[in-house]
Symmetry: C2
Subunit: 346 residues, 2 copies
DNA sequence: CCTCGTTGCCAATACGTTTTGGCACACACC
DNA sequence: GGTGTGTGCCAAAACGTATTGGCAACGAGG
């Protein structure tokens, strides 16, 4: 009982609760608040020793600028959004790729003094009306994405991950360099003996499908190999599409599946049809994840380095918000092929 | 060209950018800022017609209180955190259960004027030092969780989802009512003929494992059925644990697996051992998700209603932050059994 | 007529920071 | 000694809201 009241103010000096504000720092350092502010923000004219003293005091008492006050003054909230586009309202977004991007972006935002809020997927972007964001990351925008239009009208800076195919020059983006990475996967299949390689993509109009398809068409054309493609709508017909691809006279001897879950479904279809992986059909999926790792056999996959994508996107967005970059900027991230049991070793 | 400059200020009145602040609302309604503020927040003494007029004006010009200013004045940031506990630093968190909780909590926070930031998993909770949070949700805390200790010291209000088994009375929580729901699953197995039911749990010291185990032990004891249990550490030995359970003389005829992914792994082991599901071994998993739905056959699972959990947790946290609830409060959420192909129909 | 309680409203202040527009001093150059 | 050019620092004014402590008007009760 007595212990409780006694505990309350213990450790005030070293505690995590910011006690005094900037004023206190200034007082302890023997300068004005103006100078303290200047020293901490690295602006204005402050003597080197004075600055050092202020910084020392701030460190000492664990000073953190009150984000609300700072936001008020700077006309900024310190809040960044991140959202994933889905063709289905409220659709599942438990993709590992997505989660890893978010985590990386959160860390990056944090280290720059921003907070990242995860905006729930919604086709029209309603949630954005009530969020006071300084800027936002949009993962895998649709083609001609209405959300981007809306954000643009609202004047919210945007960085996309993947591109809106109709407006590739309007927004800054960070993207996978599929044009070369997809080819690495195809080369791998070819080098292990595949000659009839089929492509299975999604049909939601997101850029990764298109990129993979373009790479596939160019690559097969160059080699005079047959072009066998199929599309699966989001939902359950991935297995259906895979079955049509595999259950025919001139069966492919390899499958390049853009989405991880589709690849997983395709592997199930192979089993049902009595096709062995990788002996009868080799399988490569375009994004790594838990499904690819847990499948039997494990699926050879592209590691798209989502952490790097998230980090780059957040950094680009922050630079944009802070007006350190004027127009649009782009950044490509390379992927790496993880060879596993669904393809024959080279 | 001319069009561009013209477009810039179109729709100022109905636009999303807040034009004037509270002052503007007051001016248009012909009252003071004080009265406007009172009317909008439902406090103070304001005549009914005056209040209506203020609200109308605010609606009209699309007024939103500046969150920084409000935060500054109210000594609050409007930011809530949500984080998932993991025994492994930087561990994967792409569990559907988790994502659904986060989405629901985000919507709820939004509707109360808060923003939710997804705090990356980290054993020691470092990220929390740099986040100005009004409160936080901790999903599946560990036993004696150091993060909870730290948050408690920092004075950050906490609501957990699942419980810290060593401190069940110290924090408010929302939890699955496993004590009855696990039994529903066991009843189902029994009613379909199972007599040797084994339990496979995780070993990370999170409350759901313990709850499921307690329910299992009580239930089997009551019926005089054999008690066959195994634990799998986080990582890859779920298959190993399942194999030891299944590859023995007195083989179980049913498996209750607490974690979805472990159940998936166990199904793989069955296939390797030539055991048919559900003819030779029935399988129930304790949480639904994409793995359970995509497995072959699909796994009977408990739908834990993560949306409801997320919503309740957020509401409880907000009520706590706003001092509308004083001590701790608890809430149980029921689950529902989804019968699928891995168990025999009743 | 005076007092008292109630109702409806408002002026002024506080929240903690950043930024503007200086002031004072020092040094150098004619 | 004047004039110019930096340098180091500061007082005061924002930013937009919520809240405190009123003031005036009104009707009721003495």
């Amino acid at each position: 009982m007595a212990e409780l009241t006694g505990e309350k103010d213990t450790g005030t000096a070293s505690g995590n609760k910011p006690k005094g504000g900037l004023r206190e720092v200034a007082r302890l350092a023997g300068v004005s608040v103006t100078t303290a502010s200047h020293a901490l923000n690295g602006v204005g004219r402050v003597g080197a020793d004075t600055r050092a003293r202020v910084l020392a005091v701030a460190e000492e008492i664990g000073y953190r600028a009150n984000p609300s006050a700072r936001g008020l003054r700077r006309a900024r909230t310190g809040l960044l959004g991140i959202t994933h586009r889905t063709a289905i309202e409220g659709g599942i977004t438990d993709i590992e790729y997505f989660v890893k991007i978010v985590n990386a972006a959160t860390w990056t935002a944090l280290s720059h003094g921003y907070s990242l809020v995860l905006v729930p997927p919604s086709l029209d972007g309603r949630p954005f009306d009530d969020l006071p964001l300084d800027g936002t990351i949009v993962i895998d925008p649709l083609t001609g994405d209405p959300l981007l239009t809306r954000l643009s009208q609202m004047g919210v800076p945007v960085v996309t991950t993947g591109r809106d195919l109709e407006r590739r020059d309007e927004f800054s983006w960070v993207d996978n360099e599929l044009s070369t990475c997809a080819i690495a996967a195809l080369d791998h299949l070819e080098s292990t003996g595949a000659r009839r390689i089929a492509l299975l993509t999604g049909s939601t109009g997101q850029s990764y499908d298109q990129d993979a398809k373009a790479a596939y068409l160019a690559w097969t054309k160059e080699r005079g190999l047959p072009q066998i493609t199929a599309e699966a709508a989001p939902g359950t017909d991935a297995a259906q599409a895979a079955r049509e691809l595999l259950d025919c006279a001139e069966r492919p001897d390899a499958l390049y599946v853009v989405l991880e879950k589709f690849g997983f479904a395709a592997a199930g279809v192979c089993r049902q049809l009595g096709l062995r992986i990788p002996e009868d059909v080799q399988v490569v999926v375009g994004a790594d994840g838990e499904f690819a790792r847990q499948a039997d056999p494990r699926l050879t996959a592209l590691d798209l380095h989502p952490e790097e994508i998230g980090r780059e996107a957040a950094e680009l967005l922050i630079r944009t918000v802070e007006k350190k970059v004027v127009g649009v900027e782009r950044r490509l991230v390379a992927a790496r092929l993880l060879e596993r049991g669904s393809t024959r070793g080279a």
